[in-house]
């Protein structure tokens, strides 16, 4: 695969959040604000890129029986390291992400890319795939987090100081008072509904693009659907 194909797959055609629907649990649970969505997205991106490279380096040398076990071990070690680093240098973000940080281990996106892509590809391509898939996931986290924060709290980027330092919880853009927020957007059902709407928009855009181009030029969507 060429780099542009890898990026097209990660960001659009096989976007982990909107097409493969991988890692739904953190996707829905953490995205109550732009800041926490961005934080978890970056952490996942870092873990995914690093695990892809490591898996690509060792994958083919491993006996088939223990391949998955070693991948899980690698991913767990990486996630633990990222968690410790965040606890040391970004304690606010560490507290905001809570249990979902160690749970990156169980994000099937990471293991899925290790097994389906990185273990069969050279390190460079695996790194690109990790960055592309991680960015695709990050974009969905940030989009969903922004929508939910605006609807639910009437602000945008109100807790970005957790990531980038600075003082107080009064940064970001304020649109209206938090007491007028649309509470459902912050609750888990609201997350499902909004993600559903995002999926619908994506499908509509895709359908329009398909209708606009001749069938021959637009191959059927190559979706590798995995259960999340």
């Amino acid at each position: 695969m060429t780099p542009s194909e890898i990026f097209r797959a990660g960001l659009r055609d096989q976007n982990p959040g909107l097409v493969q629907l991988l890692g739904l649990c953190p996707l829905l649970a953490v995205t109550t604000s732009l800041g926490s969505g961005l934080g978890l997205g970056l952490a996942t991106l870092a873990v995914l890129a690093a695990s892809n490279v490591l898996v690509s380096l060792v994958g083919r040398a491993l006996p088939a029986e223990i391949r998955i076990a070693v991948f899980v071990l690698l991913i767990a070690a990486l996630v633990t390291s990222v968690e410790l680093a965040l606890a040391a240098w970004l304690p606010g973000l560490h507290a905001a992400l809570g249990i979902f940080l160690p749970l990156i281990v169980t994000n099937c996106l990471v293991l899925a890319r290790a097994e389906a892509f990185a273990s069969r590809q050279p390190a460079g391509a695996a790194l690109l795939d990790g960055v592309a898939m991680g960015s695709g996931f990050l974009l969905v986290l940030v989009a969903l987090g922004s929508i939910r924060e605006v609807l639910g709290r009437g602000s945008l980027g109100g807790d970005l100081h957790l990531l980038f330092g600075g003082h107080g919880a009064h940064g970001g853009i304020h649109l209206f008072g938090e007491q007028h927020g649309f509470l459902l957007a912050l609750l888990p059902p609201g997350a499902f509904i909004l993600l559903g709407l995002m999926l619908a928009v994506r499908q509509a855009v895709r359908a329009r693009a398909t209708a606009a181009t001749p069938q021959a030029a637009m191959p059927p969507e190559p979706v590798g659907r995995v259960r999340a």
Binding site: P63, V70, S81, W89
Partner: protein, 216 residues
Amino acid sequence: MGAAPEPAFRRSGRAALVLLFCAVLAFGAVSLVHEATRDEVAAARRARELARFDEVLRGLRYDNDLLADTILVHDAELLGSNGPVTAYRARLGQEPVAVILAPVARNGYSGPIELLVAIAPDGKLLGVRVTAHRETPGLGDEIETRRSAWIESFAGRWLGSPPLPRWKVRKDGGDFDQFTGATVTPRAIVSAVANALVYFERHRDELLAPASTMPP
């Protein structure tokens, strides 16, 4: 591999060795990271706790090491926790200026609510903060300072103002506001704070004792 297929036991033995090797490597790497971040993690945790104490003490001055000057107290009924509860003592000079208790309100709407309650030596409340809860967003979470100033209504209160029987939400005939649509949460907190004050009254001497008389 050679011409003859490898025997199964040798194959699995080799796989086990590789797995062991990987496990040792991963363990070593995580240990290194842990070692490299240990001091920062401890410092960050300490800074976070001290920031919370500053909030609950409302800027009260003290000059001792709050996190070291502690005693463990135990009262399942009044402090809401079956295990020991830490009491932190703030002092200026050698004089005690505040005791911070960390009681738990067990009858929250969805699970226990953890509190910090700062009490002056004369039994007046300096401040109350919620440190952990799972109350309904938008209804019960007005106990957070981020959402409303309700929790500030405890500052300056003591067991004579209002008298103990009126340490209830208004709906139950007490002096404290409840929130629209959420009575259980403030009710739980009001009673937990009152219980903490009762505990303080009963154990004042023990709580305010100088650090030096503590058993090591």
